[in-house]
Subunit: 245 residues, 8 copies
């Protein structure tokens, strides 16, 4: 029987199926199944206890969880507890990756590329990488390809074409120029990921976001400033479609 | 020999190959070849003569051209001249579609979906449809699925799942809520197309754009307000990748 | 004799009745009587002494006071002093509730509902709850009903219909989509309470506020970002009217 | 059997009930039934034919329709056609009111008040009045009560207290001060309706909206600039609740 | 010989008179003489040494200096040093007032009034008071007259009329409504002083500033948010003119 | 008996004196008496009939009225009618000045100065001039003193000092630099009047407004963009105080 | 004797030399001499008579004048009159160039380059060209070099290096990416000229301006949106310095 | 053979020359050669190790590096290490200047001027000075020339004329008025450097930036707020051109 996007809603409406409430929270435990992406816990402004509890709740039905915007201290505290629970833990550029070692790896889901304009774009790009990898994608990363030294773009872009990636995430802050240049050169979908670098007028990523929204070259869509989760999710969904054929 | 995104640039740098200048304009005649999308002439603020001349120049190397933001009067004037030149002409919701009848149809490039929240979203969505069609995509359109009457969304969304579309463009103005709701239900890439409807604070599409950038559900990327060309191009590039396998 | 909204003003104008000045402050001690709501002390940026003094002044004529945006440290310091004065103290999610145990409970004032999109919306929603309760309302709360998992909304909304609430406060940050969806489904007044979650463009609640102001579904009015006091007050005034018949 | 807000959605999900598509539009014909408010057609940017067709479609299931932002020319053209169809027509300050003369009048739904700061606020306030009246409310209107002449507020406000209105819509542009002053004097819910008067910094109603969102006095909720439909709908929903007891 | 505003400039242009450079700074030592106001040192972002050095330099030609946005720690450190130099020191709400005890008091310069809407407006209003006093003005202050309790305004406003003040500074944050109400009642120049209270949309004083700029009642001019120096200076210049007759 | 700002309000509260309603408008007929300024009718967006009716209503109790933002066509139509009524009519730079020839001239109210940076600032400055003149002020005007040619400022500024004006209105658009320069040179209150000239970023007067709000030199207060009425009223109130001594 | 920038100011201050007032305007007739640039009359919002009068006044002391933002109708009317006066007239892309045929040509002032991203950037770039030419510069123009087709940039940029231009004006709208790319490749000063093309978020040139202000590559300075006069003047001043050696 | 701006790019495209990747970073080591400016490391948000590593990498091919926004602690730590490597170290107002003592000094590159409006503008201006000096320029600095005391400008401006500087950087915060005044007086290119001083509306340098973009006097170009690097680079490129003749 074909799967409908409304299956959960229909069940709720017809069978009175309630969403279980744990610790006063009505978590959506089946999003991974419905949308094909790992669950993400956003740590900023939360206590380690709250993050730990959210991770545990999600891990009852998911085999992996990402905790983003996680300080090293929080990663330490939450990670130790989850390792004691038997999970595999990895901490990378502010993201805690938690996996059930007994669960099967996610199905291979094609490959994507990530380009960054400068080193400051890495924190946001790194989240995108981890989200895409957790969805089963192979991720090809090339850093520091900003247009202030245009020749640096040649090798990475030819390599991504060679790898036949399904989509390219281009992360850039300040003037956010790189996605426009890339999209003018290729026929692969470009996902612009503006990052909150830059100061003064248009700082904090607003300038980069605007540039990407105004991109003359077609084939660019954009996520919000520093929204690495969104960029990785979008790229992964495209790659999964492509991979499925 | 494998194709590189830098082929044109390399040729310019090594052979001194110049971009032909016609009527004082250094048009990029090969973008369609490089990026796989039909060329678009943006009519607003141009005279019919300028539009006609731009179309003719592009048609020397391309088999189709879209002239967007075209008034009926301009469409009439430009269309008659191009029909006299032997081209096939169609005018649809402000876009003039020009095709060389002797050129082969574009290769089939998979299918995409378009959902609109209300009737005012159609002008922008229509451009997206034509751009995707001109790239060879089959386009499934469902209008008036806004969340003010949520039940209207059921049938269209199930139909798009059934059609196995590669991506869904969701056009919405005012509160721009529809992409958030759709992305929470499916695992297909959603391209948010904010439209310039709505008035007061957040009017002219700024509210809709912001909503889509802030979407909680992952799997949404956004183009600029009323940028139907960008939405259609992004969806077509995804569909072409998927179709190629 | 019928009560006029201008009674205090008329008295000031005709009898030269002065507003008593205590500690250099011309507090409006009778607002509770005039408007039917508990007095609120906004703690942010104030010293514990200033908060304590403001509470004591208001408690000379009011039987309850809420101190909002109160840190645990301030709550501890102010709370102990007021408990020594003989008041009942409760501290909940950043709000200190102070009550005269000998004063009669507020008259029953009907019931209202509160829905939150996610856990980050609770601090603002919690203030709304306490304000409405202090006005005598019964408050039905359902958390985590965000549209990223639409099926979670079914049970709470049907429960609120069943409880026949006079108004529903819908608290949401980021894309602020929930009030639009709720208002499209019911004929109960919805008070949108945007919360300061979200980052990047439209972050800090600006996106959520805009979405709610642009809501296509009629029956939504909005208070400012994080203004839980305003949302609770508005809902309570409605409930009191409804309860009075 | 109790009515659920999800009835239409459940039907769509379980019986495959489709929303009828007329002229390519998937109109939500049952919103009046679901939400208790007359349907509104927003005329701006539409042709008379489109407005006429939208009205006729909605009148197949609704006994009244309001066409807002309607020019006298459009009102003339659309009105004559609908009168020929047998409907009752009234044109008032840019709104065309269409009623089926054979349908029963809406149930009496309590009373509301409308205050305007100046004459420029009337177009928006007028729409609010018509929306509330079409929902069965009695509407008490007092114009020109702006605080530049504070004494003008006395008589209207005492009259609204006397009339025991369920809610008061306060329409104001420029500095948008009036709702703050009114809410400081009464215990009736105030719905702030900012209007697009004023020029320079904070012009076009942005200043008035901001003032109302920042109102110090509790008991104010706000709709978007010039959103008379939203203000009238909110007030009517409150009045209906109050009237029902 | 009559004094010209260009005296200093003329001297510089004709006699090559140079502005003395001390510690690498070209201070304008004669502004007090030229404009009739005490010199102000803005402390924020400066070290105590820099503030001390600036004060000393200005005190070589001025009999008084105000150091604004001064923390208690800085006031302590700078104040002790200047007291050792023989100056009179006073610290009040973040402003350090330094006076040469041997200099004559400033000439009496008429009287002004200051009204604040709430207690949070005092820091900005306090600076205005000190600036005006240092220019020789008598200052009548009334706090907590916000329109949320309109009757509190009666006594202060009648007292200011009685005192025949030359101008009234009205300090208000959040909705910034008070200057509009005051200016509608009197024929005395009102200087709106928006303060950086309030949160959410229009917070940090932007809403209050906008309200004052949009004030319907004529007779209001505005200074920037928290610019107590500017408000006090403007009021003092008016009072000096009035006093001179 | 001393006059109180609350006289009208007190009368309304104690004697139930109603504000007369003419043609559905609750005009504030006594503002001139209360605030000492001529009444102003803002014409933009009104019909000639509405303007005529407003003028006539105000002239029942006032001896002069200014109709601002008045087109020559409207001035012709309204002016002829009022001249037939027996009033004196003058039309100047978009403002229609209407006076009762039998009424005494306003009391002499001292003198003010007006400086403009360029010719485009005249429309706003002209309104300020007429408002001040109608209040009895002598107005000294000097145009085209912008800092792009600083020497042009010498003669006008020395003349204003010589004339001993009570206040100077400085009108400037684009960079709005002139008030900063003037305030640095004199000890007369400066009222900054930003005008809506300039394009691009900070165009339409927003840049000029910001510059004036940020002015380093104390002694500047600001009115809204193009608010000539507000600037003229403020200057006139100052001049009247000064003149009274 | 060496020339001082204060010569005019000194003369005004010491000799009481007045700026001649013609037709009520205090024009700065000697700016060309002082700053080395032709005078510009900004036509928008002015009548043909006002433009003609301004041109004539300036031509009494200047040998050439540019009238920018000039419609063809105004150019016709003003141009005929000035030709009758004996001046040479040229009209180009909205700018009327007026020259005294008997005056010597401006001294040769070196060469500059202008690059545009697309055809829509020409109106602004054209003004820059005319301003620089009128200052005696040789101007090398290359159009349509936008990065959507990067290879188009090669030939123009190598030609400008070859021509050894003193500065390059880079005009671009929408994403405004071109100056960033150019400045990363060369060591010639780049003047970014954002143009008001583009729509939606960051439209009207705001996006292009922000991009240029955020440019990562050093060696870019920016003028306001559409400020061709400013860009041309800046480039000309640089070229004159370079030429002088 | 003549040097082309595309040399690096051509080599990358034809010889497959890769940009060396060190520590995962694809640094552009030849920008100094290509653009003639010292390399800059932006320290904010980086660890001392990252800064040290970036400096060392760049110093492999450059003889000098500037590390900006460097705290004294970081300067201490990084400086000691680099001194141990044998480099010459200087720390000035937040910038660490690193030079290879064995490398030849940069070629003399003409002179530029720097003016600041106040002492708070020095941090940004200081960076500009160091960047220009590192490019071989002689830099003439005059501080505290703000228009609040206009006579202070005379001596510095005449000295800069005397020194025949190629360009003048004018740094100003708050109202940012100084560049407008300077550009009206001279025919030297002015580079406006807005600084992030000022509070309230237009604070953080936004007001100063807008003023400079709106400058009426031609001959001003602008860099972003606090972008001392950009201002210094632009001035140096101009001076190098001038010096070369």
């Amino acid at each position: 029987m074909s799967k409908s996007p409304f299956d959960h809603l229909r069940r709720a409406l017809t069978h009175g199926a309630t969403t279980p409430e744990l610790d006063g929270v009505r978590a959506d435990l089946d999003r991974a199944e419905r949308c094909g992406l790992a669950e993400v816990v956003y740590c900023q402004g939360k206590t380690p206890d709250a993050v730990l509890s959210a991770c545990r709740r999600l891990l009852t039905r998911n085999s992996q969880v990402l905790a983003t915007r996680c300080t090293p201290e929080m990663a330490e505290q939450v990670g130790v507890a989850l390792r004691d629970d038997g999970f595999e833990i990895r901490f990378e550029t502010g993201t805690l990756v938690v996996r059930d070692p007994h669960a099967p790896a996610p199905d291979a889901a094609g490959s994507i590329g990530i380009l960054t304009a400068g080193t400051s774009d890495w924190p946001a790009a790194s989240v995108a990488k981890l989200v895409a990898q957790s969805a089963g994608c192979t991720v090809h990363v090339f850093q520091d390809c900003g247009v202030a030294g245009l020749h640096r773009l040649v090798e990475p872009l030819e390599a991504l074409i060679e790898a036949d990636v399904a989509a390219i995430i281009v992360a850039a802050g300040m003037d956010g120029v790189l996605p426009s240049v890339v999209a003018g050169l290729i026929d692969i979908p470009v996902i612009g990921l503006p990052t909150s670098t830059g100061y003064g007028h248009g700082g904090s990523g607003e300038g980069a976001l605007t540039t990407m929204l105004q991109a003359c070259a077609p084939g660019v869509a954009v996520v919000n400033i520093d929204n690495g989760v969104g960029a990785g999710a979008m790229a992964a969904l495209i790659a999964k479609r492509v991979n499925r054929g």
